[in-house]
């Protein structure tokens, strides 16, 4: 693949950084999806949480209408998927964050907790997917 093939990934990443910077500098909040969504489920910061999640859902629809519909392939079986959902939900709440809060904002802030969490979830994600790939 040439470098140009990665331009959408880079451009999408810039938008993620812009979204996180906006929320940080204007509202003073961390754009961590598991945190925002988890607090919303618990009824905390319900107003801003709800509109943020609404925007998150509408974003891909906007891209669909202006650019191209995102193509998704879900290879995981239903039992795999439901187990994965349980683990991701429980784990992100126990570990206080996910790819966005720890992986982007926490790393940008140089937080030791976020750097440690990111190293651990990356290592576990790589190990799990690689092992599954080898077994299948």
């Amino acid at each position: 693949m040439t470098l140009a093939a990665y331009l959408p990934a880079l451009g999408g990443g810039l938008l993620l950084g812009l979204a996180a910077s906006l929320l940080l500098l204007v509202n003073g909040r961390i754009a961590g999806i598991s945190g925002i969504f988890g607090r919303l489920l618990g009824g905390q910061q319900a107003g801003t949480g709800l509109v943020f999640v609404l925007g998150l859902v509408l974003g891909p629809l906007l891209v669909s209408s202006l650019h191209a519909r995102p193509q998704l392939t879900v290879d995981a079986t239903w039992p795999q998927l439901l187990l994965a959902g349980l683990l991701v939900g429980f784990g992100t709440r126990l570990g206080s964050g996910c790819t966005s809060g720890h992986g982007i904002l926490g790393v940008a802030r140089g937080s030791r907790r976020s750097l440690a969490a990111t190293a651990v979830f990356l290592a576990c994600g790589l190990a799990t997917a690689t092992l599954l790939g080898l077994l299948s």
Binding site: L10, G49, A108, S111, A117
Partner: protein, 148 residues
């Protein structure tokens, strides 16, 4: 509350969802293409997404440190500095396990809800159960005093 905060939260959500869609990271197959090192056709896209996000977020954090308060609030609401503890590491490990199993994490899963894909919706339902199990069950057992 300043109503403009709602507008900013909506705009941030829109940008985040659009960024995920544009980056290709809504697709679990692309994410697994990065996480599966032995596939024979490794896809480094996720690193470009993370890199792009950090290019913007790093200077924003530097700017934030020079500001007394955010534009629309009286103070920054940042997680307090705390030591790396067992909950953090165990939580991150469980999250990584789930992420590697399906190729979905909270952002792309929620952002994919509007696309009407049954398996993404099912993942989100299970994720909600996992979050509620943690917040209502474990948190209560650890802290007998109810949270405000």
């Amino acid at each position: 509350m300043n109503p403009w905060r709602l507008v900013v939260a909506l705009l941030a959500g829109l940008l985040f969802g659009s960024g995920l869609a544009l980056s290709g990271m809504l697709d679990p197959a692309r994410v697994l293409g990065f996480l599966d090192l032995a596939s024979g056709h490794w896809d480094p896209s996720l690193l470009f997404v993370l890199g792009g996000a950090l290019v913007v977020a790093l200077p924003a954090v530097q700017l934030q440190r020079r500001l007394a308060r955010p534009l629309l609030d009286t103070e920054f609401h940042l997680p307090p500095t705390a030591p790396v503890d067992r909950s953090l590491l165990l939580g991150a490990a469980l999250f990584g396990l789930g992420w590697g199993l399906a190729g979905l994490c909270p952002g792309p899963a929620l952002a994919g809800l509007g696309l009407g894909i049954a398996k993404v919706n099912g993942f989100v339902a299970a994720m909600i159960v996992g979050m509620v199990l943690h917040d209502r069950g474990l948190a209560r057992r650890e802290t007998p005093v109810p949270r405000a």
